[in-house]
């Protein structure tokens, strides 16, 4: 763990912060694409330490959050069926569908199990040949190789009671969509290091060129994140736009060829809806025709539910820095930490909750 501690070293972090501060001459907005980076930024308070004018925008890089509502509803429909063992990563259990979540399906008698890898779900299928075992395959390119390996092994073993509900999403098309959007304020991107461990940094080169933005492949420890920000600012200040690898201990330009070969075999690229954003073309993976018999959507003939989510909450605008939390008409009345309408009011780390507690509640409002 000594190696890890160096990437959390306060002195190194302070030195990077000083270099960032010295480099910044005008306002910039940098987007950290990955939820893991966002978590690190919040846990260490990195956003508070950056020089004024340099803002971080949290990206869409949490695969749990962007899994489309209809896919959640399909997972709920399958998990509720008799004879099904539904296996999922833990954090998908509380993601709400139209009216309930997987914890509620479990409370109603559904056999919903938390696994730490799709290979665990495969083992459950081998041990329960009289039941249908379904794995909910979510995540970016990071988790996809394990999904691919599991379905590859299932096919090799002829495991007929195993299938997958696949909702994998791809990062580069999302970055492209954001960079192309006129509403976007993003000047530069921190790409997700673990995604690039699999796919390499090369896929980002045409994006950087097309949209004239710096893209820095960045790790997840505080020193990693600060170094990614420093490199991004350095490019912005010098008018450059390149793909830079700030995570060389894990990422090569061409990624992991063996994993990519497996992904090519198992998946086809498809359009995918992102929750809260909409359809982004060619931004998802589905099982290829060779593996179609393992596709839970087909096997269970899950109805294609199309749902509209309530849009009163302006969390999206808050997260993009377009409005402050108290400029949202729901803030403090309809939306409080007790009855949150949006994620930033749920977690005390959220912008709205922090605003409510620090700047609102103690001015005499009813808290």
């Amino acid at each position: 763990m000594k190696y890890l501690s160096e990437f959390r070293d306060p002195e190194i972090a302070q030195s990077l912060l000083a270099r960032i501060e010295a480099a910044v001459t005008r306002p910039w907005a940098v987007m950290e694409v990955c939820g893991g980076q966002t978590h690190s930024i919040i846990r260490y308070g990195i956003d508070q330490l950056l020089p004024e004018g340099l803002s971080l925008i949290h990206g869409p890089g949490c695969p749990v959050c962007v899994t489309p509502l209809e896919m959640i509803d399909r997972s709920l429909a399958i998990a509720a069926r008799d004879g099904v063992v539904f296996c999922s990563f833990g954090d998908m259990l509380r993601v709400p569908g139209s009216s309930r979540d997987l914890t509620m399906v479990r409370a109603e008698g559904g056999d919903v199990r938390v696994v730490y890898s799709p290979l665990d779900a495969l083992a459950i299928a081998r041990d329960n040949l009289d039941r249908e075992v379904v794995f909910f395959a979510v995540g970016f390119e990071t988790t996809a190789p394990a999904t691919a390996m599991a379905v590859h092994v299932a096919r090799r073993e002829g495991l007929g009671n195993f299938s997958m509900l696949v909702s994998h999403v791809l990062v580069p098309p999302a970055i492209g969509a954001i960079a192309a959007s006129a509403a976007s304020r993003v000047d530069g991107f921190l790409a997700a290091g673990h995604v690039c461990t699999v796919m390499g940094s090369a896929p980002y080169e045409p994006l950087s060129e097309l949209h004239q933005v710096p893209i820095v492949v960045t790790g997840f420890e505080p020193v990693d994140v600060l170094d990614g920000i420093r490199r991004c600012v350095r490019q912005l200040e010098s008018g450059r736009h390149e793909v830079e690898n700030a995570y060389p201990r894990a990422v090569r330009r061409d990624g992991n060829p063996a994993a990519k070969a497996m992904l090519d075999d198992v998946f086809d690229v498809c359009d995918r809806r992102w929750r809260g954003i909409g359809v982004i073309p060619a931004s998802g993976w589905r099982l290829s025709e060779r593996y179609a018999s393992f596709d839970a959507e087909r096997r269970f003939d899950v109805a294609d539910v199309q749902v509209e989510e309530p849009a009163r909450c302006r969390a999206g605008d808050v997260l993009q820095g377009l409005i402050t939390p108290d400029e949202c008409e729901c803030f403090g009345g309809e939306c409080t930490p007790r009855n949150p309408l949006g994620a930033p009011m749920v977690s005390s780390e959220g912008a709205c909750a922090a605003y409510y507690q620090y700047r609102y509640q103690y001015r005499g409002a009813d808290g």
């Binding site: 260490y44 308070g45 695969p63 959050c65 509380r94 709400p96 309930r100 914890t103 749920v346 005390s348």
Partner: protein, 360 residues
């Protein structure tokens, strides 16, 4: 939600946010037992209104204190134990059931007197395992010096239980002059933790299916009554004691901040997190502050008494690793704020419900 393709117009990112977890459940979910927000809501919105006047003097603290007249005060606590697996590295459900309730009594400064033991057994449970758990309870009670004075046994059909559930209910005597209460935190108080956190939760997780750690993490299951006695003997200024079990240190601190109306500031780098707990939490995406402990306490002590109390704690076996982790402030009442390793601040929150490993 507008859906347009890049190149065809604008991409609407205005709804770009994590979906909000559902909080209006029609049925009990596991999270209601997680010691976090959902547990608190169940008590506040279901149990207390339903109990009405009967719960007028109910406390959300680890134990209630009953005034029996003539200065005699009895601490009273109950807890059910549903741990899986029944035997885990560093302990088992039996000693957990004894120490857990002893500790709840000790958190009000009470000397434990007697426990009841109630078993719900699942048809098919091996008697050898039941015997092992019962012997473990006997050993734990003898170590504490508390009697197991009454009990009950029920058996449910196979498939209707996890082999064995245990409930222990305990009473203890609060010494004269001792007034340790959940809402006693005051600005200026020093916050002390009695040793490394997160060991029990990670030990139990480490022997569940699907997770294997290279190093064995052992539960910190231990009785805290002697530690508390040493603290109370050292100084009068022990204001609050909490046993940070489910929901971890974060849940205890948040509850103390809320009930006391005090602001709490902790220094993250001062909180003792063992390397193996840190590593497991990194792997699973958990916050060590949310992970359960079973042999630790967090104390709020008047600043003038902090050195004496800390020294007394460090002089005991279970409190040898005691350290100061923070203080109570007049700022941000009701909130717990952590100073991060980089010198910034973040708000510490209670977990919502059960601990769910993150994938990203």
């Amino acid at each position: 939600m507008a859906e347009q393709r890049p190149g065809e117009g604008e991409l609407d990112v205005s709804g770009w946010t994590c979906p909000v977890p559902l909080r209006r459940h029609q049925r009990v979910v596991l999270g209601h037992g997680g010691g976090g927000v959902l547990s608190a809501e169940l008590i506040e919105h279901l149990f207390l209104p339903a109990f009405g006047e009967a719960a007028r003097t109910a406390t959300l603290a680890d134990a209630a204190v009953l005034e029996l007249g003539e200065g005699v005060r009895l601490a009273f606590s109950t807890d059910s134990y549903v741990v899986r697996p029944l035997v885990f590295p560093g302990g088992d459900i039996g000693e957990l059931a004894v120490y857990g309730t002893v500790n709840d009594l000790a958190m009000r400064g009470a000397v434990p007197l007697a426990l009841s033991t109630a078993f719900v057994l699942e048809e098919g449970l091996e008697l050898a395992l039941l015997g092992r758990v019962a012997e473990s309870m006997g050993r734990a009670a003898r170590r504490v010096g508390v009697g197991l004075v009454t009990g009950d046994t029920k058996v449910v059909e196979a498939g209707h239980g996890d082999g064995l559930y245990v409930n222990t209910t305990g009473i203890g005597l609060v010494p004269r002059g001792v007034d340790v209460r959940p809402d006693g935190a005051r600005p200026g108080d020093v916050v002390i933790v009695s040793g490394p956190i997160g060991l029990h939760g990670i030990a139990v997780l480490s022997v569940r299916d699907g997770i294997e750690f290279a190093t064995e993490v052992r539960s910190d299951t231990a009785p805290l009554h002697d530690l508390v006695a040493a603290m109370l003997a050292a100084a009068a200024g022990v204001h609050v004691l909490r046993d940070p079990t489910r929901g971890g240190l974060a849940a205890s601190l948040c509850e103390i901040a809320a009930t006391s109306g005090a602001g709490i500031e902790i220094v993250e780098s001062a909180v003792p997190v063992p390397a193996e707990v840190e590593a497991a939490c990194n792997l699973l995406g958990l916050d060590p502050l949310h992970v359960a402990n079973e042999g630790k306490l967090v104390a709020f002590v008047a600043a003038d008494d902090a050195d004496a109390v800390l020294a007394a704690m460090q002089g005991t076996e279970v409190g040898a690793g005691s350290v100061v982790v923070g203080r109570v402030t007049a700022d941000h009442p009701g909130l717990v704020v952590a100073r991060t390793a980089l010198g910034a601040t973040r708000i510490v929150d209670r977990p919502l419900g059960e601990q769910l490993p993150r994938i990203c």
